[in-house]
């Protein structure tokens, strides 16, 4: 009966599928952020490869992390740059 009334007044959010979808979205944000250390290492290596084409970076002090908040996940990379590479610009 309640459902009917809610539908009658056009309360979309009351549909259980929307609840399902929203819950799922949140769950997946967290699931996907729980990646393995190996994954992060691979990501880091790839980033180094790409960035090294353009600049010299301090690989030892480079930090790559996923940070979790309630509603989103952010990739935070802190990469100290030693020197820009000239060759990268000259190719243009």
């Amino acid at each position: 009966m309640l459902e009917f009334i809610q539908k009658f007044f056009g309360k979309e959010a009351a549909c259980s599928k929307n609840i399902a979808k929203e819950r799922l979205r949140l769950v997946l944000v967290h699931d996907r952020a729980n990646v393995s250390p190996q994954f992060m290492e691979v990501l880091k290596d790839d980033m180094i490869k790409v960035i090294s084409n353009y600049m010299e970076i301090n690989e030892q002090e480079m930090e790559v992390n996923l940070t979790n908040t309630n509603s989103s996940v952010t990739l935070v990379a802190n990469i100290p740059v030693n020197r820009m590479k000239r060759s990268a610009f000259q190719q243009e």
Partner: protein
């Protein structure tokens, strides 16, 4: 050289075995040479769904351990000449086989058959790793439930880390009237969340229960909704462009379906 397809889901009970049986039989209906491989060692089920449980002499573990030749373990289907089953062992566990053995097995089968379809066990442990080891492509089965979609997402990630890219999605057990009421996630919702290509949708159909009772895949039926849905998927896998079943309508699902198929 045939194609090796693994049917997987993460969560149990979403219809992997039913999908394996129906897609395999669907290929056989079109004259393709198919072998179904039950990779659920210790909890085999594909044999009963296919109605071949009383013909098992050797199984997958017998093959990998060299107790018999591959051909001896293959059971020919009782309806279709070009359809075979390689059953799982029932008295062993997942650790009786390793991914390397499965790779060899799959490539041996792919030499003989057009399609090798692997029924993956639920979970993400050894059995899953075995099942996907030799696969060229993956089909993920899910239902419109939070738990099943979440597990499907996990599986997509695991497949990617194993180098199996671009899996296709089958959404099983859609209930049109619940979707219409807004009490079940619809296809767009699921695709939006999982962000992979949709291969097909299977409506909830009581005929699946009946056909499983009989040990005869639903796809054999010319009229059952699930049968038509599975046949569509088979044609899509063969490269045909088959439109999706329409499931939301004012007149009800069946009416619309009748309109689509013109009877």
């Amino acid at each position: 050289m045939g194609e090796v397809i693994v049917i997987t889901s993460g969560k149990g009970g979403v219809g992997k075995t039913t999908t394996t049986a129906n897609l395999g039989t669907g290929f056989a209906l079109l004259g393709k040479k198919v072998v179904l491989v039950d990779a659920d060692i210790g909890l085999r089920n594909l044999d009963v769904v296919m109605g071949l449980e009383n013909r098992i002499v050797y199984d997958l573990v017998d093959v990998t351990e060299g107790n018999c030749r591959l051909k001896q373990a293959l059971i020919r289907d009782k309806r279709y000449e070009s359809l075979y089953l390689l059953p799982a062992a029932q008295t062993r566990d997942k650790n009786a086989v390793n991914p390397d053995q499965m790779k060899v097995l799959c490539s041996d089968l792919a030499e003989e058959f057009d399609y090798v379809i692997i029924d993956c066990p639920a979970g993400i442990e050894q059995g899953f790793k075995n099942a996907i080891a030799g696969a060229d492509r993956a089909i993920i089965v899910t239902t419109p439930e939070v738990s099943a979609v979440r597990d499907a997402d996990r599986i997509i990630g695991l497949l990617e880390s194993e180098g199996k890219h671009d899996p296709k999605l089958v959404v099983n057990r859609i209930r049109p009237h619940m979707v219409k009421k807004g009490d079940m996630m619809n296809i767009d919702d699921i695709i939006e969340i999982l962000a992979i290509d949709l291969l097909g949708i299977i409506p909830e159909d009581e005929y699946i229960v009946i056909s499983t009772n009989r040990g005869e895949p639903a796809v054999v039926s010319p009229v059952a909704l699930a049968s038509i849905a599975y046949k569509n998927i088979v044609r899509r896998l063969l490269g045909e462009n088959v439109p999706l079943m329409t499931i939301e309508s004012n007149e009800g699902f069946f009416y619309k379906l009748k309109k689509v198929f013109g009877f």
